[in-house]
C-alpha cells in the first residue's frame, strides 16, 4: 500500500509553517527534503548522472504534484510506492484473504476477499457461511469492480462544488440546531432496505433525538413487495424461506426462484442438493407456470406457458385440485387443466415434502392461495419457513407518502441514504421533481447519481470493501463487514455520517459498529469480535416463527387493458445500481444473451401479429405513460404478456452505464409494481442489439443430451482411438465435468472467470461484431417449436483436448500441450495467426482484435489479478483451467514436499457455481469427484465424433417425464 509513503511525503513537503506553497514543480524537485525522500525511496536515482537525475526528479515531482493537487490526500493510482516499513505479516506477491461481506439491497453477501498488496481483486463466497456455502452470484462476483469505479463520488460536494468534510460538519451542526428546535418536524430520511444492526440502531437513535422525524423506505427491487404479499397471506409481514433441499416436488407460479436475486444462491444450492440426491434418477420434480421464460422455467420438467394475469386463477385451480377449502376450479383451459392435474398429483404424494411458490406478478391472490396450499399440504414449517422481516426499518413510510408530504410542503430537510429515488421510482410519482422542492437535502451515496445531482449535498460513501459495517444475509445471519483497504477517496461510511447527524464530532469508522456488537458480545467482546471477523459471520440465523394463512376472501385483481405488462429486474444490472459495472453490462443476460441493453420481451405470436423483429422499436403504454425500447422475441413467452426489464435508461450512472437501453421505471405503476395492463405497438426505428449468440436452435444435433432415469447415454468409447501415441502424462491429469442437469444458466461462472482471469470488457460495438472476450460462454439452445420450446444451458469453456486441433495449427508453438493435459496458451509467443481459433471445433478461443486493455490511468487497473497476464493486442486467449491456481497449489505442495491433495485446486467457475454443476479435478485419481462423474451413466463428450478427446465433458440432463418435451 502507498499509505506509508504518502505519510512520509506529506511530512516532507510543507516546511516551516506547514502552509508553504511551492510555485513550480522544479522548485519541488530542488527541495532537499524531497530529494532525500526520493533517495530513500528510489536508491537507483542516486546513481544517475546529474542531468538524468534532474530529469528524473522533475518527472517524479510532476507525478507527485498531480497526486497532491488532485485534492485528496491519498490517491493510490498515480504513484504506487513501495512500503516504507514493510509490515511483518505481509509478503509482496502472496495474496491475503479476509472474510467480509458486500451488500445487495441491504442484505449481506458473505465473501472471502482476496487482496494483493492491500488491493482487493477477487470476491468469492464464504465456504463456511450457512446461506451460500461458498457459492456466488454475478452481483457478488462483480462487486469488487464497484470499488474501482472511476465515476465514484470522491469528495463531498455542495450544489456540485467540492467542499471539505469540515464544511459538511458545520452544515450538519446548523441543521441539527434547526431540527432540535422543532423535534425534527420536517426532517425525513429516505432509506433502502436495511439489515445492518448498526444502521438500524443509529436510525433509532436519530429518531429518539428528533422524535417528529420520519423514515421512508424505497425498495425498487424485491424485498418490500414480498412483505406486502406475506402480509396479505399471513396477516403480518414475514420473510419466507424456501427449504428446497427438502423438496420432492416444487410448483412455481411465475416465481423465478432459481433466477437472479437475493435468494438465488440459497435456492439454487437447495434445489441442486435435492435434485441430485440419487445417482440413477432426478431427486425432485419442478413444475413451472410462467409468463416470461426464466431460469426456473428452463429447469422445469413440466412447464406451462400462461399469461401473468392467469396466475391467481391457476393458483386457485391448483388449490381446488388439492382440496383446499374455498377454492373454485375456475375457468381454465384444457392445457392448464392437464398441468394442474399433474402438479396436484405430484404434490398430493409429497405431503410436507412439496412447496408451492407464487411470484409477485400473481399479486396477493396467488400468494394467498399458495400459502393455503402449503398449509394444507403440511409444507409450512417443513419446506417453507417463516421469520420476522430481516430488513428494516420497521414502520417506515413509503416513498409515495414522502412525495405527497413534500408536495404538501411539510418537508424541509431530507436525508437520502444510499438509494436512488430520483431514478428507480415509478414515473407517475414524479419523485425527482419533489426532491428538488426540499430546501435542504443530503444524499449519501457512492456516486453523484440522478438523486445526488438533485440534492443540495452529496456525501460520498465508502465502498463495502473500505468500510466498517455490518449486515445480515437472507437467513438473518449477521456479518461484520471489515475494510480491506483504506478508502481511496475522501469518503465516509454511512455509519460515520449517521454519527455526524447524531452530533458526534469526527467519528471513527469502526466506532459505531463496535458499539453495536459490544452490546451483543458483552464481556467476551474481544474474542468474539475477532472470531466474527475471522469467520466472516456471527453464528445464529433469524429464529423461525409460526404463521398460518388468514382466512380473508381473495379478491382477484382487476382485469382491463389489452396486454399484461410484467416488470422484471434486470438479470445483470439489477435495479440499475450496477449500471456502471462493465463486467455486468457485458455479461450476456440468461436466455436472451443480450448485453449492454434491456429489451421489451414479447412472444413470437405477438411479434408476428404486430410484425416486429428483434431490435425493432416498440412502444409500451400504461395509462397515459409510455416508453419505447427494442423488442426481443422470446420463444416460450406467453402470448399476451410483455416483459419490461428495469435498471436501464440511466442518465447519471457514469461513463459505462449512461444512455443504455430504456427506462422502464417511467411506466411502472406505483400501486402495481410487477404487473400492469397496457398496450403495445410498433414504432419507427430499429437497432442492432449486442447479442453473444445469434442462433438458438440445436438444428437436430445433440449438443445437449437428455436421458431417462435408468438409461445410460452412451457406453464409454475405447480409451484411445488414434494412430498417434498418447501424450505422456505427469502425476496429475486435470479434467472437468459439467452437469447440464444442474446448470441454471445464472452466469456466476462467467462473472467469476472474468474477475479471476482479467478478461477484458470490449463494449457493445465489439460485441455486435462478435468479439466478446468471455473465456466461458453459457450456450443456450432451444428444442422444439418456437412457441413452446424446451430451453437448455450449456457452459462451454475450453475443452482442453488431448488431440487438440489448435495445437497442430499454430506455426510458432504458442499453444502447446502440458504434461498435466492442459492446452496451454503462451501469450508472449503468440503472433496472432488465429489458426488455432479457425481449427477449434468448439470456438472457445478469444482474440484481442484491438488493444482491449484497461487504460493505464484507470483505477480499474487495480482490480486486475496480478497472477494472470493482461493480454495485449493481437494475442489469442482462452480458458486455462485457472492455471495460476493449479500452479499456486503445486507451489504450496512442493514447499511441504507432498503430493497435491484431492480438491486442492478449484477453478474460479467451479468455485462460483451455486449448483455445483462444474466439477474440476484430477482424472487420474480414481477417487476424485471428477473421475467418478466421468464414469457416470449420464456422461458424454461434446462432438465426440471429431476425435479431439476433450478433457472437459458433460453429464446429460434428466428427463423428468420420459417425453422430454417439458411442456404443458
Amino acid at each position: 500500500m502507498t499509505h506509508n509513503g504518502h505519510q512520509q511525503r506529506s511530512q516532507l513537503i510543507p516546511s516551516e509553517d506547514g502552509r508553504r506553497q511551492w510555485s513550480g514543480i522544479e522548485e519541488l524537485s530542488d527541495d532537499p527534503a524531497f530529494q532525500a525522500f526520493v533517495d530513500a525511496e528510489y536508491p537507483a536515482a542516486q546513481t544517475f548522472s546529474p542531468t538524468a537525475r534532474r530529469e528524473f526528479l522533475k518527472l517524479m515531482g510532476a507525478s507527485f504534484a498531480l497526486a497532491g493537487l488532485a485534492g485528496c490526500e491519498k490517491s493510490p493510482f498515480v504513484a504506487a510506492l513501495p512500503y516504507v516499513d514493510q509490515p511483518g505479516e505481509a509478503t509482496i506477491g502472496i495474496p491475503r484473504r479476509y472474510a467480509t461481506a458486500v451488500v445487495l439491497d441491504g442484505y449481506a453477501q458473505p465473501v472471502i476477499a482476496t487482496t494483493y498488496s492491500g488491493r482487493p481483486t477477487k470476491l468469492d463466497g464464504n465456504p463456511d457461511h450457512p446461506v451460500t456455502g461458498g457459492r456466488s452470484d454475478v452481483f457478488m462476483q462483480s462487486a469488487v469492480l464497484g470499488l474501482y469505479d472511476p465515476d465514484r463520488a470522491q469528495t463531498p460536494t455542495h450544489r456540485g462544488e467540492p467542499v471539505s468534510w469540515k464544511d459538511v460538519v458545520a452544515a450538519i451542526g446548523v441543521l441539527r440546531e434547526g431540527w432540535s428546535k422543532d423535534g425534527g418536524e420536517g426532517l425525513r430520511l429516505l432509506v433502502g432496505p436495511i439489515t445492518s444492526p448498526t444502521l438500524l440502531r443509529q436510525l433509532d437513535a436519530l429518531l429518539k433525538q428528533f422524535p417528529k422525524a420520519r423514515v421512508h423506505l424505497h425498495a425498487p427491487a424485491q424485498t418490500s413487495p414480498q412483505r406486502s404479499l406475506t402480509k396479505a397471506a399471513y396477516g403480518k409481514p414475514l420473510d419466507l424461506h424456501d427449504v428446497l433441499e427438502q423438496c420432492d416436488v416444487i410448483v412455481s407460479l411465475d416465481d423465478d426462484i432459481l433466477g437472479p436475486g437475493l435468494d438465488q444462491v440459497r435456492n439454487a444450492r437447495g434445489w441442486a442438493a435435492s435434485r441430485h440426491r440419487f445417482a440413477d434418477r432426478p431427486g425432485n420434480r419442478l413444475f413451472m407456470a410462467e409468463s416470461v421464460p426464466s431460469a426456473t422455467g428452463a429447469m422445469a420438467g413440466s412447464r406451462l406457458i400462461a399469461d401473468a394475469s392467469r396466475m391467481p386463477v391457476l393458483a386457485e385451480a391448483l388449490a381446488n385440485a388439492l382440496g383446499v377449502p374455498g377454492a373454485a376450479a375456475g375457468e381454465i383451459t384444457e392445457r392448464e387443466r392437464g398441468w394442474i392435474r399433474r402438479a396436484a398429483d405430484a404434490c398430493g404424494k409429497a405431503h410436507g415434502k412439496s412447496l408451492i411458490v407464487a411470484g409477485p406478478v400473481g399479486e396477493q391472490a396467488a400468494a394467498i392461495w399458495a400459502a393455503r396450499i402449503n398449509e394444507a399440504l403440511g409444507n409450512a414449517g417443513q419446506t417453507l419457513k417463516f421469520t420476522d422481516p430481516i430488513t428494516g426499518p420497521a414502520g417506515a413510510g413509503t416513498l409515495a407518502e414522502l412525495v405527497s408530504d413534500i408536495n404538501a410542503g411539510t418537508v424541509h430537510s431530507l436525508v437520502v441514504i444510499d438509494c436512488n429515488a430520483a431514478y428507480s421510482t415509478p414515473g407517475e410519482l414524479k419523485a425527482a421533481e419533489a426532491l428538488q422542492r426540499v430546501r435542504t437535502s443530503l444524499h449519501l451515496g457512492s456516486q453523484r447519481d440522478e438523486t445526488g445531482a438533485l440534492c443540495e449535498w452529496q456525501l460520498p460513501l465508502a465502498h463495502a470493501l473500505e468500510s466498517w459495517s455490518d449486515a445480515r444475509a437472507v437467513d438473518g445471519t449477521a456479518t461484520i463487514i471489515q475494510p480491506l483497504i483504506a478508502p481511496f477517496y475522501d469518503v465516509r461510511t454511512t455509519h460515520q455520517i449517521l454519527a455526524m447527524l447524531l452530533g458526534e464530532i469526527d467519528p471513527t469508522s469502526d466506532a459505531a459498529v463496535r458499539e453495536t456488537w459490544q452490546a451483543t458480545f458483552g464481556d467476551a467482546f474481544s474474542t468474539r469480535w475477532s472470531q466474527a471477523l475471522h469467520d466472516g459471520f456471527v453464528q445464529g440465523a433469524a429464529a423461525f416463527v409460526e404463521a398460518s394463512p388468514i382466512s380473508a376472501t381473495v379478491t382477484a385483481p382487476p382485469e382491463d387493458g389489452a396486454v399484461d405488462i410484467v416488470f422484471r429486474l434486470d438479470p445483470t444490472v439489477w435495479d440499475g445500481q450496477f449500471a456502471n459495472v462493465g463486467w455486468l453490462q457485458e455479461l450476456p443476460k440468461p436466455l436472451t444473451t443480450v448485453t449492454w441493453s434491456n429489451v421489451v420481451a414479447i412472444a413470437p405470436d405477438l411479434a408476428k401479429r404486430i410484425s416486429v423483429a428483434n431490435g425493432d422499436h416498440v412502444e409500451v403504454r400504461i395509462g397515459d405513460r409510455s416508453v419505447t425500447g427494442p423488442a426481443w422475441i422470446m420463444p416460450g413467452q406467453a402470448g399476451n404478456t410483455v416483459a419490461l426489464y428495469l435498471g436501464y435508461g440511466r442518465t447519471r450512472a457514469g461513463r459505462v452505464g449512461d444512455g443504455l437501453g430504456y427506462d422502464a421505471y417511467r411506466v411502472r405503476p406505483a400501486d402495481r409494481p410487477w404487473l400492469a395492463k397496457g398496450s403495445l405497438r410498433k414504432v419507427d426505428g430499429t437497432e442492432t442489439l449486442a447479442v453473444t449468440q445469434l442462433h438458438h436452435r440445436m438444428e437436430g444435433f445433440d449438443f445437449v443430451r437428455e436421458v431417462n432415469p435408468g438409461e445410460v447415454v452412451k457406453q464409454p468409447a475405447s480409451e484411445h482411438a488414434s494412430f498417434y501415441p498418447q501424450w505422456a502424462s505427469s502425476e496429475n491429469a486435470w479434467g472437468m465435468v459439467i452437469d447440464l442437469d444442474a446448470c441454471i444458466g445464472c452466469n456466476a461462472c462467467v462473472a467469476a472467470c472474468t474477475a479471476e482471469n482479467n478478461v477484458p470488457i470490449v463494449g457493445a460495438e465489439q460485441v455486435k461484431v462478435g468479439r466478446e472476450m468471455h473465456w466461458l460462454r453459457i450456450a443456450r439452445y432451444y428444442d422444439g417449436s418456437i412457441e413452446e420450446p424446451r430451453s437448455h444451458f450449456q457452459p462451454v469453456p475450453c475443452m482442453h483436448c488431448e488431440d487438440a486441433p489448435c495445437e497442430m495449427g499454430c506455426p510458432v508453438h504458442a499453444t502447446t500441450h502440458s504434461p498435466e493435459g492442459l492446452n496451454q496458451m503462451v501469450y508472449n509467443r503468440c503472433i496472432g495467426t488465429r489458426t488455432c481459433s479457425s481449427y477449434c471445433p468448439y470456438k472457445v478461443r478469444r482474440f484481442n482484435f484491438f488493444d482491449y486493455r484497461t487504460p493505464a490511468d484507470s483505477p480499474t487497473q487495480a482490480a486486475h489479478n496480478p497472477d494472470v497476464t493482461v493480454r495485449s493486442r493481437g494475442v489469442m486467449e482462452k480458458c486455462t483451467y485457472c492455471v495460476q491456481r493449479i500452479e499456486a497449489a503445486h507451489i504450496a505442495a512442493d514447499k511441504e514436499s507432498r503430493p497435491l491433495r484431492g480438491g486442492e485446486v478449484v477453478t474460479a467457475c467451479q468455485q462460483a457455481c451455486p449448483t455445483k454443476a462444474i466439477v474440476f479435478g484430477d482424472i487420474k485419481d480414481p477417487n476424485s469427484e471428477v473421475a467418478r462423474l466421468k464414469r457416470d451413466g449420464r456422461h458424454y463428450v461434446l462432438l465426440e465424433e471429431l476425435g479431439t478427446r476433450p478433457r472437459t465433458t458433460y453429464l446429460a440432463r434428466w428427463r423428468d417425464d420420459g417425453s422430454g418435451s417439458g411442456q404443458g
Binding site: 437436430g700 499454430c810 506455426p811 510458432v812 496472432g832 488465429r834 471445433p841 493481437g874 461434446l942
Partner: protein, 451 residues
C-alpha cells in the same frame, strides 16, 4: 506439331519483331495511356499504404473478422492472388517442357504477372497477423530461447512453399529475360538505358555456348517450377483441409485448389494478353490464334474446377456427416448463398460461350469472360473460407461476417500493388519474349520453305 497451322503471321521480318518489342521500353508508344493507368494504379497503391498504416496502428480489428470468422479477406485474397500467380509459371514452364510453342508470345508477361501476384499474395500472411512485427518467428532462426517454428502447422509449410515458389519463379523469369535484355541493350541509344540493360543482361553475347548453357538452365528451372505449381497450391489448400471445420476437411482440396488456381490464373493471363495487344498494337504477335488457344485452356481448366464443385457436393452428401451436410446447405441456401451461386454463375456460365470458336477469337468476348472468371474465383475463395467458418460445429458459436471499409481498401490496394510494378515492368522490359517469338517465326518460315 508439324501439321499445325501457323500461330504467327509469317509475313514479318525477324528484325522487325526485335525492333517492335524493344521499341516499347525504348521509345514508349503509349505514354498517355500508360500515365493514366499508372495514376490509377498508384492511387490504389496509396490506398493500400493508408490501409496498412491504419492496420498496423490499430490492429486487425479494423477488419470485419470476429470469432468464429477469424479468417476472412486477408486469407482468401492471399489464396486468390497466389492462384493467379500460377498461370505464369504453368504456361512458361510446363508448356516449355512439352514444347508447345504458342506460349512464346505469352510467357513473358505471364511470368511477370506471376511474380507480382505472388508478391501481392505474400504480403497478406504478414498483414493478417495480430502482431505482424513478430513475423520472423515463423522462420527457424537461432533464437536465444531455442524455440523453433512448429513444423506440424500448415502455416509453416505455407511459408516455405510460397518462398520457394517465389524464388524459383523469379529465377525462371529472369533467366528467360536475359537474351531479350541483351537485345534491348544492343538497340538502346540513351546512356541510361545502355547501362541498365547492359548490367541486367549479364554480359550476354549470344554465342552458341551461351545459348546451350542458357537452354539447359532454363529447362532445369522449368522442371523445378512445374512441380512447385502443384505443390504450392496443394499446400495452400491444406491451410484449410488440415482443420476439422466442415467444408474444409476434405481430401479433394489439393487438386481442387490447384485447378482453381490455374483457372483464375489463365483468366488473368487472358485479360492481360487482350489488354496488351490492343494497347501496343501487337496483333501480329498475340494473334487471334493465341486467344483461341487461351480460350480452350480456360474452358478446360474451368471444367476441371467445375468437377471439383460437383465432387465437393458429392463428398458432403456421400459422407452423410450431418455437419458437412449442414455446411453444404448453408452454402447453397444460407445468408451467404449469393456468394456460392455468384461463384457458380460467374465461373461457369459465361465460360460455356468458349465452346464456340468465334467467341474464343474475339478479344472482347474473351476479356469479359475472363473478368467474370477472376471475380467468380474470388467469390469462390470467399465462399470456401467464410461460409465454412461462419457456422461450424456448435450452433452457439455461429456468427456472421460483414467486411468493413478497411477489408475492401486493403484488397483493392493490393490490386494497386500488382499494377504499379507491372506497369513499370511494361515500361522497362520487353513484355513479349523477342528471341522466342523470333525462334518460332523462324521455325514457321523454315517449315513453309520445306513444305
Amino acid at each position: 506439331m508439324s501439321d499445325r497451322s501457323d500461330i504467327l503471321p509469317r509475313r514479318q521480318s525477324m528484325g522487325g519483331i526485335a525492333d517492335q518489342l524493344t521499341g516499347i521500353p525504348l521509345h514508349f508508344p503509349a505514354e498517355r495511356r500508360w500515365v493514366i493507368a499508372m495514376a490509377f494504379a498508384s492511387a490504389l497503391l496509396l490506398l493500400l499504404m493508408i490501409s496498412v498504416t491504419e492496420l498496423f496502428t490499430r490492429g486487425v480489428g479494423i477488419w470485419g473478422i470476429n470469432i468464429p470468422v477469424n479468417w476472412a479477406f486477408a486469407i482468401h485474397n492471399y489464396v486468390w492472388w497466389l492462384g493467379i500467380g500460377h498461370a505464369g509459371t504453368l504456361i512458361s514452364a510446363l508448356l516449355l517442357l512439352t514444347g508447345s510453342e504458342w506460349r512464346n508470345s505469352l510467357n513473358r508477361f505471364a511470368e511477370t504477372m506471376t511474380l507480382f501476384a505472388v508478391v501481392c499474395a505474400g504480403i497478406y500472411p504478414i498483414l493478417h497477423l495480430g502482431r505482424p512485427w513478430y513475423v520472423y518467428w515463423m522462420f527457424p532462426y537461432p533464437a536465444t530461447m531455442g524455440v523453433w517454428p512448429q513444423f506440424r502447422s500448415p502455416l509453416e509449410w505455407d511459408i516455405w512453399a510460397v518462398l520457394t515458389y517465389l524464388t524459383v519463379s523469379l529465377v525462371f523469369w529472369y533467366t528467360g529475360l536475359i537474351p531479350d535484355l541483351a537485345a534491348a541493350r544492343d538497340r538502346a541509344t540513351g546512356r541510361g538505358w545502355q547501362i541498365f540493360f547492359g548490367i541486367t543482361s549479364l554480359g550476354w553475347r549470344g554465342s552458341a555456348i551461351h545459348w546451350l548453357r542458357w537452354s539447359q538452365a532454363y529447362r532445369v528451372t522449368a522442371a523445378l517450377a512445374v512441380p512447385l505449381v502443384v505443390s504450392v497450391h496443394s499446400e495452400v489448400s491444406l491451410l484449410f483441409a488440415a482443420g476439422q471445420i466442415p467444408g474444409w476437411h476434405s481430401t479433394i482440396f489439393p487438386p481442387y485448389f490447384v485447378l482453381g488456381a490455374a483457372f483464375s490464373g489463365f483468366a488473368v493471363v487472358a485479360i492481360i494478353a487482350v489488354a496488351l495487344r490492343s494497347w501496343f498494337g501487337l496483333r501480329n504477335l498475340v494473334t487471334d490464334e493465341h486467344l483461341d488457344v487461351l480460350g480452350k485452356v480456360l474452358l478446360a481448366t474451368g471444367l476441371m474446377t467445375g468437377y471439383g464443385y460437383v465432387f465437393e457436393v458429392f463428398d458432403a452428401l456421400y459422407s452423410g456427416e450431418p455437419h458437412d451436410m449442414r455446411t453444404l446447405l448453408d452454402r447453397v441456401a444460407g445468408v451467404y448463398a449469393w456468394i456460392y451461386w455468384g461463384a457458380v454463375l460467374l465461373n461457369f456460365v459465361p465460360l460455356q460461350a468458349l465452346w464456340w470458336r468465334g467467341v474464343r477469337r474475339s478479344g472482347w468476348a474473351l476479356l469479359l469472360i475472363s473478368i467474370s472468371v477472376a471475380i467468380g474465383m474470388w467469390l469462390e475463395r470467399d465462399m470456401i473460407l467464410v461460409t465454412s467458418l461462419y457456422r461450424d460445429f456448435l450452433v452457439s458459436s455461429w456468427g456472421k461476417f460483414t467486411p468493413t471499409f478497411w477489408d475492401w481498401s486493403t484488397y483493392l490496394g493490393t490490386i494497386g500493388l500488382f499494377l504499379v510494378p507491372f506497369l513499370i515492368a511494361v515500361r522497362l522490359i520487353p513484355m513479349i519474349s523477342i528471341f522466342e517469338t523470333k525462334e518460332l517465326l523462324h521455325e514457321e518460315k523454315q517449315e513453309a520453305r520445306h513444305g
